[in-house]
């Protein structure tokens, strides 16, 4: 029952706050309620009123009404503090699964100062920020991530309790642009290296001692190194050799190098390997089913690889999809994607 209500409430809120990287807060989407202190304040007013009644003291009536008026005034103040504020997602973050991913927002105050604005996502919250009317400020909010892939926080809460802390006005921004979360690196097991050291051929060739090679037609995404170019020259057919031994090549980080391992595990191994390679400054390429990144080195390359690992098999969330943050429902819909267990 409670669940039902909360679901309905969520849906209602989501309708009011469509996903957008820019959200301007106004009466339509600001919620306001008394805080705990506000409730106590209400009780205090009641006690004061009773005191006034019992002692027939007009001045106590007066001060009670004054404080009541302040409460109502505070309601407007708190609301105005948030209304007109524009929050824009400037840069969705990148990070490692399990860590907090920094999302950069830019807050621009409207006609009024926006004082003591709190930005929070789940349990993470930023300290109060003050923005003068018409000015902007950038804020970086860590968003917790559980899985690799696209990270799109369901809601980021923006709240203010200014001026008196008796009322809180809040709203949410539901960003469209996702952050990218790479798999959590896990120390990969020793790769069975069958490639002999020193053999630095760009061309894929059967390594010595290789007893078996699968020949299969070229598919999109196959690395060009694996194409049997000689055969292509001979008969124009693009044939790819899947050399068993190639998986052990230190240049290539290969998804298929960990037979039997869970896909997510493999991605974690690969992330670890990418980091290793980056540490040593070695050149490496990344081979994933459906995507191959040519060997290279440097931070751009590393980032590219990590990003590829992060979003492999994932579909970029679409604006219309209103998934709960962290849920993976689109995965099961995506028939092409590999089935996964939790990382």
């Amino acid at each position: 029952m409670k669940n039902q209500v909360s679901k309905r409430w969520q849906r209602w809120v989501n309708r009011r706050l469509p996903r957008s990287d820019v959200q301007t807060f106004s009466q339509k989407n600001i919620f306001i309620l008394p805080t705990g202190a506000g409730v106590v304040f209400g009780i205090l007013l009641l006690i004061m009123l009773i005191t006034g009644i019992n002692y027939q003291n007009s001045l106590i009536y007066l001060v009670t009404f004054l404080l009541g008026a302040v409460f109502v005034g505070a309601m407007h103040q708190t609301h105005r503090n948030l209304s007109g504020l524009q929050l824009a997602l400037v840069q969705p973050g990148e990070g490692v699964a399990g860590d907090e991913v920094p999302f950069r927002f830019r807050a621009t105050a409207g006609r009024d100062d926006a004082v003591a604005i709190l930005l929070s996502c789940e349990e993470f919250s930023l300290g109060a920020t003050h923005i003068r009317a018409g000015q902007s400020k950038d804020m970086t909010l860590p968003v917790p991530s559980a899985y690799r892939g696209y990270l799109r926080p369901e809601r980021i809460r923006v709240e203010t309790r200014f001026p008196f802390g008796l009322l809180k006005a809040w709203s949410w921004i539901r960003p469209v642009s996702p952050g990218i979360v790479s798999p959590r690196p896990l120390a990969a097991p020793e790769v069975t290296s069958t490639v002999e050291a020193g053999e630095e051929t760009e061309q894929a060739s059967p390594a010595t001692g290789n007893d078996h090679a699968d020949l299969r037609p070229w598919r999109e995404g196959d690395p060009s190194q694996r194409v049997m170019w000689k055969r292509f020259a001979r008969n124009g057919q693009m044939v790819v050799a899947d050399w068993e031994g190639e998986r052990g090549s230190p240049h290539w980080l290969d998804f298929n190098a960990f037979p039997g391992a869970d896909y997510e595990l493999r991605l974690s191994y690969l992330a670890w390997l990418v980091n290793e390679r980056e540490r040593t400054g070695a050149r490496f390429g990344l081979s994933l089913p459906g995507q191959v990144i040519e060997p290279d080195s440097g931070s751009t390359h590393v980032n590219r690889c990590l990003r590829a690992l992060a979003v492999w098999g994932e579909e970029r969330p679409r604006d219309a999809v209103t998934e709960r943050h962290g849920s993976r429902r689109q995965k099961s819909d995506n028939a092409a994607g590999p089935s996964r267990r939790r990382a």
Partner: protein, 691 residues
């Protein structure tokens, strides 16, 4: 927080004590200090000292001079202070002691104000302390002081909610001021219309503290002590003319039992169940002959009345001997209304044997010369002549009216009458009654006030403690009780113009009370200022403080359509509802206006809206031209108008902006927007048909 760094750990430990920003805490300190001042006269010294020490401790901890006490020490301090409190209170449970306990609780809370939550707790209890203060002081200046203290609290709250905001103090005051200003109409309406209900349960306020004022016993010298006080006793407004000074005899109570040297009431007032005095002091214009008294709290039941009055308001009842009483002690200021009747229609009954005995009572022994003197007079005169002879003696013999009477010793009345011949009204009234009774004429001492100075504007009288007076009533067979005042015979100026003139030669007027403005009444500025202040306070007390049930009902009855309690309730709810609604509408309107301050912005907003509907939402930082281009790609039908529209906007923003061109541009933009809308609609309807 870095744990590895030793110093930062230390800071963190201290931070428990100083986690609250000093800037915010300062306002609570200020508010506390201000809120204590109205209670300084009431609170025991030790409690004030304890509060200062506790708050000071917290202040010192804030600046790192000391640490806040740990839990055990804190509990110890609390137990000690509560024990001291219990010892001093001695089981008396009154509002006074309860308020003292509340002050103590506030003081103790300072020691555990560590977190924002504690800050709020302190805020709440301090706000309530402001409320409690109103129970004890309702003058306008104390009210302003209290409201100021509450305002300080509210500024403090704003600072704790944004401690690092620069210029927050000034902005806080401004915000609070504007807020109060904007809500003032609602507050006023609520104050006027909120139904003043009967108390929900009986709550005694009697404080048991000593109050300055006349008491129900009179020893020689009592009233001369009172004469050193310029505190206000009451104020009176008259319908019609003010009575002449010499007629301003405010009767309070009758002392008819001489116990050694002390005059007492032979019938003690019955012990009262604690309760509240009814504050409804009658309403409406004062008729001629009516007068309205606003009595300062006395904690006593007696009400002061001119001779020959009858009760008009329901909160005073007339008792025997022409005295007036409240049903409950006057623990706050009370307004009541009386009317003077023409002398002569008083019922003239004779004294019963019982009464006669009471009014002739004398101690068995003492003052033999006075007794002898009375017997001598008796042999010469009848009742009326004897009284006259006595007054003549007072007038002609060198008797002095003085605020510095000598000590009388044993047989004080003999001493006063035959030796020192110097005394104050209490001395002479007592001696006269003694003489009359010795001569076999029933007599009694009346205590009250005589006189009263006109307030600013001269439309009301202020009667102060130094106007306290004692005189004599004597029973003359065919005239009933007759007032005689020996003081009038000795020092006519006391009765004609007041104590100041009566003791002018002596220079003893308020000689111990150097801070009283009345002492400097010959300095015109001080006199004027003090009277103006009193007038403001008087109006404040009559109309604001005294705005209670009957007053409200009376005001309401003047409105069309009989207003009862129930209607008032509805009206109040209506006011609150309407207030909220209006405020909501205003803010909605401001919001709307805020989005469209500029006509151009409004039109551009319309365009953005239209593009978004056409599936081309505007991007951040996009120029009109690029949006137009994208719109044209998405909806070729509007390509031309969009391009023109964007061009017009650009030319507006890059032109010098003369007002003539401005209107034309606006019109053009509006037309283009309309065109685009039409084009879009047409296109959608045709595609709709096609599908």
């Amino acid at each position: 927080m870095s744990v590895s760094d030793g110093s930062s750990v230390l800071v963190a430990a201290d931070g428990a004590a100083t986690g609250l920003p000093s800037r915010a805490l300062l306002w609570l300190f200020g508010s506390f200090a201000i809120l204590l001042t109205p209670q300084l006269d009431r609170l025991p010294i030790w409690l004030i000292a304890a509060c200062l020490v506790l708050a000071g401790w917290r202040g010192a901890a804030q600046f790192g001079h000391v640490r806040l006490p740990g839990r055990w020490l804190r509990t110890g301090i609390m137990l000690v202070l509560v024990a001291v409190y219990i010892a001093t209170v001695q089981g008396r449970f009154t509002v006074d002691t309860a308020a003292s306990f509340f002050v103590l609780a506030v003081g103790l809370k300072w020691l555990e104000t560590r977190t924002v939550r504690d800050f709020y707790v302190l805020f709440f209890i301090l706000a309530y302390l402001g409320t409690v203060n109103f129970l004890f002081h309702q003058e306008i200046h104390w009210s302003l002081v209290n409201i100021l203290a509450v305002a300080l609290l509210l500024v403090g709250l704003q600072i704790i909610n944004a401690p690092d905001l620069p210029g927050s103090v000034k902005a806080g005051w401004k915000r609070l001021g504007l807020m109060l200003l904007k809500t003032l109409p609602i507050v006023v309406l609520l104050f006027v219309f909120f139904p003043r209900m009967e108390p929900l349960w009986s709550v005694p306020l009697v404080s048991g503290q000593a109050r300055t004022g006349i008491s129900d016993t009179m020893r020689p010298g009592d009233i001369s002590n009172l004469a050193q006080s310029s505190e206000r006793a009451f104020r009176a407004t008259f319908g019609g003319q003010l009575p002449a000074y010499r007629d301003r005899y405010w009767r309070g109570l009758i002392l008819d039992y001489l116990d050694g040297e002390t005059w007492r009431q032979s019938e003690r007032d019955p012990l009262q169940r604690p309760g509240r005095v009814a504050l409804d002091g009658g309403v409406g214009e004062l008729e001629t002959g009516e007068y309205d008294v606003l009595l300062e709290p006395t904690d006593q039941r007696w009400a002061f009345a001119l001779e020959g009055s009858r009760a008009v308001s329901s909160n005073v009842i007339e008792e025997s001997n022409d005295l007036f009483r409240f049903r409950r002690p006057a623990d706050t200021s009370v307004r009541y209304r009386l009317a003077r009747e023409d002398a002569g229609n008083q019922a003239r009954e004779s004294l019963t044997y019982e009464q006669r005995r009471r009014y002739l009572q004398l101690p068995a022994t003492g003052n033999p010369r006075a007794r002898q003197f009375a017997r001598d007079l008796r042999t010469q005169y009848g009742d009326v002549e004897l009284v006259r002879a006595l007054l003549t003696r007072f007038r002609e013999e060198p008797y002095f009216y003085t605020l510095r009477p000598p000590t009388m010793g044993e047989n004080g009345i003999d001493n006063l009458l035959f030796d020192s011949q110097r005394g104050f009204c209490a001395h002479y009234a007592g001696a006269t009654t003694f003489l009359l009774r010795s001569a076999g004429i029933p007599a009694r001492v009346v205590v009250g006030y005589q006189g009263g100075a006109p307030g600013a504007g001269g439309d009301y009288l202020i009667v102060r403690q130094y106007d306290a007076h004692a005189w004599v009533e004597v029973w003359i067979g065919d005239r009933g009780w007759v007032r005689i005042d020996p003081t009038a015979a000795i020092a006519p100026s006391r009765i004609e113009s007041g104590l100041r003139d009566a003791v002018a030669d002596e220079g003893s007027f308020l000689e111990n009370n150097w801070a009283s403005p009345q002492r400097y009444a010959d300095i015109a500025v001080i006199q004027w200022a003090s009277l103006q202040l009193d007038r403001i306070n008087y109006q404040w007390q009559r109309w604001i403080v005294g705005y209670q049930g009957q007053t409200q009902m009376n005001l309401m009855s003047r409105l069309p359509g009989g207003f009862g309690m129930r209607e008032l309730g509805y009206l109040t709810a209506g006011i609150v509802g309407a207030g909220l609604l209006i405020a909501g509408l205003i803010s909605a309107w401001q919001m709307r206006r805020g989005g469209s301050r500029d006509a151009f912005l409004r039109i551009i907003g319309g365009w953005h809206h239209l593009s978004a509907r056409a599936g081309v939402p505007v991007r951040v930082g996009e120029t009109p031209s690029t949006l137009a281009a994208r719109l044209a790609r998405a909806e070729p039908a509007v390509a031309e108008s969009a391009r023109l529209f964007a061009h017009s906007i650009n030319s507006h923003y890059y032109s010098d902006g003369s007002s003539a061109g401005r209107d034309r541009e606006l019109k053009r933009l509006r037309r283009l927007l309309q065109t685009m809308k039409k084009q879009l609609r047409r296109r959608h309807s045709t595609t709709g048909k096609r599908s």
